[in-house]
Symmetry: C2
Subunit: 356 residues, 2 copies
């Protein structure tokens, strides 16, 4: 296409400069070029640009939980923080049919390196090998709502303060006098699991409650089945069910409905992750609100900062290894939104409208 633009009689150099807005081009030449380019319908070839410029103009978000409610807010936050800069955001889903696949993770990381990404935001703890691989290509990684792998403890991460959040959850449950807790939770691949579990366990101990932690795959159907099997085996209901995240909550609520269990009459319910419908389901749900959008925004800003530092260091002839500073590890406080499923406000079948 460029040789077509050379129909202006000007050289490649001038055309390139004119189009990209650099200097060394007279105003008339520039206009001439822009005009012919428009007439000819010239659109640059990105592959060629990236090849020449050594790429690095998009950042990737790795996720395995597109169906989790917080995902949309998180993305909104990331997009928002990155819109002013002109990086492109691409999302890489490493789950097939909603369940995480490690081979997909490998393939995804491979592809991100092939595309010479400027940076990566990961919503899950990557494998040590993949983390190392990205590092060896000088691609900065920010973990969001997940921790870096043990082999890379200094990597940046932005998460909810899950430990204290879980203490809050536990404290509220204890206020209701509930002593028999069941925590339905996803696998440790999503590393928020650790702090959530620890907080809840500590809280149970502190309040003299028993807690059972029940692990399920990270999707609604597995949540349903796992919980059903557990209740079957246990023979009786716990006092309260804590759903570890949105898909598991969905599974649990479906089971509760199918079994005719009354919430919070027979079983109180508290869940992680606020979402759009939480105040509309029956009963309105008491949930932990994560402020996902802010987390996304923070993560994106952190990544941008690191990438810029990297670019600057390189310009000054330094190494382009990303530098991670301790303040890049951030925790965002969460908030407990109290509705009815925990037993507050008179439970499920009240005739008055539920609070938002």
């Amino acid at each position: 296409m460029r040789d077509v633009s050379r129909a202006t009689g000007l050289s490649m150099f001038t055309v390139s400069r004119a189009l990209s807005g650099g200097d060394g081009v007279s105003t008339e030449s520039r206009e001439q070029v822009l005009k012919t380019a428009r007439e000819l319908g010239y659109i640059p070839n990105r592959a060629a640009q990236e090849l020449r410029r050594a790429s690095r103009d998009s950042v990737a978000v790795i996720t395995a939980s597109t169906s989790n409610s917080y995902y949309l807010d998180l993305m909104a936050g990331i997009q928002h923080a990155l819109r002013p800069s002109n990086w492109t955001v691409v999302v890489g889903d490493v789950a097939v049919d909603g369940i995480y696949d490690p081979r997909l993770e490998d393939r995804m990381v491979q592809r991100l390196i092939e595309s010479r990404m400027a940076g990566v935001i990961s919503t899950l703890t990557l494998t040590p090998e993949n983390t190392r691989l990205l590092a060896s290509w000088d691609i900065p990684v920010v973990f969001v709502d997940s921790s870096p792998p043990a082999s890379a403890r200094d990597f940046p991460s932005v998460t909810t303060d899950n430990y204290n959040a879980s203490l809050m959850v536990g404290a509220h449950i204890a206020e209701h006098g509930l002593k028999d807790w069941l925590f339905l939770v996803y696998p440790p691949k999503w590393s928020t699991r650790f702090d959530r579990e620890r907080g809840l366990r500590d809280s149970a101990k502190r309040h003299g409650a028993r807690i059972v932690v029940l692990e399920s795959e990270n999707d609604a159907v597995s949540g349903y089945d796992t919980l059903a099997a557990h209740l079957e085996a246990a023979g009786k209901l716990p006092d309260v069910l804590v759903a570890g995240n949105n898909p598991l909550l969905l599974g649990a609520l479906n089971l509760v409905r199918d079994r005719g269990i009354k919430v919070p009459g027979d079983l109180a319910l508290v869940a992680y992750d606020e979402f759009a419908w939480s105040s509309l389901v029956n009963p309105p749900l008491t949930v932990l609100d994560e402020r996902s959008e802010e987390i996304g925004r923070l993560a994106a800003r952190t990544l941008a900062e690191i990438i810029e530092g990297q670019a600057e260091a390189e310009k000054r002839g330094g190494s382009k290894t990303p530098v991670y500073r301790p303040e890049h590890q951030q925790q965002v406080p969460a908030q407990l939104v109290i509705r009815r499923s925990c037993g507050c406000h008179g439970g499920s079948f009240a005739a008055t409208p539920a609070p938002a």
Copy 2:
């Protein structure tokens, strides 16, 4: 990196062939190459590959409704249909903070052409200029849950049979004897609007009902505000509210809750688009189920077929203009899922578990 791989003493040609699995390379050379490549941590540069091969190995999905429930299912269907081939799926969101921005559409189309995409699936009716632009670069487009612009009527599209679906909705409402209908609907940019409105209007006429069509921006907050303003002005409730899609339903339900309106006692409610929580909200919702995943799968398959036809035609020296055939325009029947919000099964506050 490639010259590093030349540390095997073999030429670029041999290395390239060895890595890409082509023939003309002895088994030992191939092993030698693979071994060194692995040792050196060689990862190909995608920009260079795309430049040389004239790209065309990813397809894009253009959407402005990531928060709409059907989006996830749609994507799942698309991913599913495209996984066997090794095209990459990238999604391009042309909405900022949930509302559609035409300039983003332009920029997105520009970028897709820059990347020389193999094909595009669009969940909204593109502007005539953008459609023409894509066509002029021989990039096939399949519209999904939306129609092609009037200037390009022969383009492929896969949609729900919205007209008949709306007749079904209307018929069911009529069975309840409701005569005063309110249709809360999104703007015509999402072209399913036309058939849905037409179906509902025809149905109202057929059953001797009055229908008011109320247009709102396509997000929950606008839906809430628009509906609130309308009810204010009208001074009384209609018999039934039909929510045109998921975000509008969300807005409507929030309003209903805030106003203390009883559903279906004071106002019956039917909504478009099945979603995960529809049977769990209060009351369980009667919705039109779109089979989004199948629509996605169908669209992806159609696109794949067209791209393959294109590649074949080009190989035979023909034109690479995509050929669209009439059977590429497909309609998928929908299904009405009857729960309680329409007035069936005894309404909202029943103590028995709601049907799934």
